[in-house]
């Protein structure tokens, strides 16, 4: 897969340049007139890709799932079966439009689709996003969107091209489409808690699933099936999971941080089946305004749970999923139940059909990079600035994928590990 090498190595260092020669056309995806039916392909058919496909069909009238691809045949088969049962006539995938292997994404993009759901592990996202944009498809892509700065730069570049082409990109940071968050953030940005000066954000929970290594699995297959536990595949749990809360912090602060300092380690979940990622992080992010965000995430069984955000202003505080306290107190009233995992597709498809495509690419790229900056502050033990991480040479994803030997990287050691890591 030589093209992936070229794609990654060609990543631009800053975000201003856009590939030349793109013809701006806001209706590119529907040249020749819009179709009544939104034909959707799915790349990455695990639990989340399957769930996203169902959410997408539920979100809007006239949506069909027409093609699917996954690295593994068994994952593709179980996803097909579940979607066939759940979606009925909206499920149009046949043996001719179902693909496996590393190249499955290319086959899906070659089918007759208007939009694609990108839901593989995040390592592959930059490459898949670029290929989808080049193929002229609208995008729903799961978070996070990359695992390293090079991937983030690729996504920012691809998002600019999407804008030029009039293609929509919505990412799976569903809090951005969740009614109580939208209402709370509007109030916060209108001054309900004064100036936002700090926030505390958390994703503390127990461990997640792990698939026991089977005889005959190569290193690569074992890692891909247990992708959560390898930084090159998942970004580590601060990037893979805690990005949701970090994204809310950036939302409240209306920008990305300028630097980060943090701690973290691999204290309890130390067995080899858990790869080399950490099991806890605590990071302080500092913003241009001087505002500070304390971020904490943990995946250790039997410890206190907490998933959420707390925003501090000069005249009040907020839990943006529930309430604002202070002189302009407010509480979310639950008056109407809307599933944000569906709403994000509703908003995406409505924007495509209206000819005003949403493009969340840069925003989610910045949130992903914020989480990567936090991870690297903990991994290296150093203060990491935004410019430093944005332009870092680090590249964690192999240039070519094949089922074979794949050594597990060392566990990061603060004070020793450096940013200029390359696989």
């Amino acid at each position: 897969m030589e093209n992936s090498r070229i794609t990654r190595r060609d990543a631009i260092k800053t975000t201003a340049a856009v590939t030349a020669g793109i013809v701006s056309n806001p209706r590119f995806a529907f040249a020749g007139g819009q179709r009544a039916t939104m034909r959707v392909g799915v790349i990455g058919c695990g639990g989340r890709g399957t769930g996203a496909a169902a959410n997408c069909v539920e979100s809007s009238e006239g949506v069909q799932i027409v093609s699917m691809g996954d690295l593994f045949a068994n994952r593709l088969a179980s996803s097909r079966q579940q979607l066939a049962e759940q979606l009925g006539t909206a499920f149009k995938v046949t043996n001719d439009t179902a693909f496996t292997g590393y190249d499955a994404f290319e086959s899906v993009l070659a089918t007759d689709i208007d939009m694609v759901i990108l839901a593989t592990p995040p390592a592959f996202r930059p490459q898949h996003l670029r290929a989808a944009i080049d193929a002229g498809k609208n995008i729903f892509m799961e978070k996070p969107i990359a695992v390293d700065p090079m991937g983030v730069r690729l996504v920012i570049e691809a998002s600019e091209i999407a804008k030029e082409k009039g293609l929509a990109i919505v990412s799976g940071t569903q809090r951005r489409h969740q009614a109580p968050y939208l209402e709370a953030m509007k109030r916060i940005h209108d001054g309900a808690i004064g100036d936002v000066v700090a926030a505390q954000v958390f994703w503390n929970q127990g461990g997640l699933w792990n698939r026991e290594r089977q005889p005959g699995w190569t290193d690569m297959e074992w890692q891909a099936r247990n992708w959560l536990y390898f930084t090159w595949l998942s970004g580590d749990h601060i990037v893979e999971q805690h990005i949701h809360n970090i994204d809310v912090a950036n939302w409240a602060m209306q920008g990305h941080p300028t630097k980060a300092v943090g701690v973290g380690g691999r204290q309890v979940r130390v067995e080899p089946e858990f790869g080399h990622i950490f099991d806890h992080f605590a990071i302080e992010f500092e913003y241009e305004s001087g505002g500070r965000v304390m971020s904490m995430c943990r995946q250790i069984n039997g410890t206190a749970n907490h998933v959420g955000e707390h925003i501090v202003g000069t005249r009040g505080t907020a839990d943006p999923e529930r309430w604002i306290r202070g002189q302009q107190a407010w509480q979310w009233g639950d008056t109407e139940y809307v599933n944000p995992y569906v709403q994000e597709h509703t908003d995406l498809i409505a924007s495509i059909r209206a000819g005003t495509p949403l493009n969340e690419g840069r925003r989610v790229a910045e949130s992903t990079l914020t989480a990567i900056m936090g991870r690297e502050a903990a991994y290296t033990g150093q203060e990491i600035t935004w410019d430093e991480i944005l332009n870092a040479e680090m590249s964690l994803v192999p240039d070519a994928f094949h089922f074979g030997p794949m050594p597990v990287p060392d566990v990061a050691v603060p004070g020793i590990t450096t940013l200029d890591r390359n696989i």
Binding site: G51, N204, Q205, G302, N305, H306, A329, Y337, Y341
Partner: protein, 289 residues
């Protein structure tokens, strides 16, 4: 704090119209404290003397059926996270052996925080499916050699009515509801909970010494015909919807944001009000008979 006038869209309350209750003779059973074997975790059980109660046809208020309940023990509190964690996290096994536990028989790892940050130690287990609650009781029975299970809806409602001081009534009258002040004293509901569960047994007990049957976490029960429902209302419900006849059947919204397909069979991503209480049924135990 001003609360908006709302009723949780997650719960559809259907009331059982209760006509009368006839307790049997005093129970021969004694209260006791159970220890989960191999741990220091304990919980208390309270005897409920068997009896019967009658349920009305909602249209003409005639007696529709009379339900007979045998002597049972009922959990003094909702099952707490300390108890549930022993099972869900495999704390009954040595740390080195926990990963060898059959993963089919224990809950999968939840995505996110099933206690929703309300509190853990001393708080009711939340976000669990009825399947998870029943599997927990099955495991506890194997551990202890006693017959623990979820209450039937009839057992649960009978115990609830008995506990709120429903005097033995033999004539056909509709039992008056608890007044609001009484409910406020024994139940966490929308108006006093600040949208969260509170530690079990932090309100007053009912007359049987049982806590939180009304409000706090809703409690799973299973009808004789197999249908399941959360009983008694929860902290999310208006006080007027907190009563012994309140039942809510699982709605699609209760796990709609589980982002994965297939959805978890163990956890309900959007039901931080779904908990349970266990009973012990001595009638099914040879040694007690």
């Amino acid at each position: 704090m001003v609360f908006p006038n709302n009723i949780s869209p997650w719960l559809v309350i259907v009331a059982t119209i209760f006509l009368g209750i006839v307790p049997g003779d005093a129970s021969q059973l004694e209260p006791y404290t159970e220890t989960i074997p191999g741990t220091l975790i304990t919980f208390d059980l309270v005897p409920i003397p068997g009896g019967s109660f009658s349920v009305a046809n909602p249209e003409n208020l005639d007696i529709e059926r009379i339900l007979r309940v045998d002597d049972i023990w009922i959990g003094k509190t909702e099952v707490t996270w300390e108890e549930y964690d022993v099972w869900q996290l495999g704390l009954d096994h040595e740390p080195a052996k926990r990963r060898q536990i059959n993963t089919e028989s224990r809950p999968s790892r939840p995505y996110g925080a099933p206690d929703w940050g309300f509190g853990h130690s001393g708080f009711a287990t939340l976000s669990v499916t009825v399947h998870a609650a029943e599997e927990y009781a099955r495991w506890l029975s194997e551990k202890t050699g006693k017959n623990y299970r979820l209450p039937t809806t009839a057992e649960w409602q009978y115990a609830c009515y008995l506990g709120i001081g429903a005097a033995p009534v033999r004539e056909r009258t509709i039992m008056p509801n608890l007044n609001i002040e009484d409910r406020d004293a024994i139940a966490w509901h929308f108006g006093n909970s600040d949208r969260a569960t509170h530690p079990v047994a932090s309100k007053k007990p009912n007359t049987l010494g049982v806590y939180d049957m009304l409000g706090n976490a809703g409690e799973w029960g299973r009808d004789k015909d197999g249908a399941t429902a959360l009983l008694g209302g929860s902290y999310r419900d208006e006080v007027t919807n907190i009563h012994c006849g309140a039942r809510a059947e699982q709605a699609r919204a209760w796990n709609s944001t589980d982002p994965q397909i297939p959805k978890s069979t163990w956890w309900l991503s959007d039901a931080p009000f779904a908990g349970f209480r266990i009973i012990r049924d001595p009638g099914a135990e040879e040694s007690v008979r």
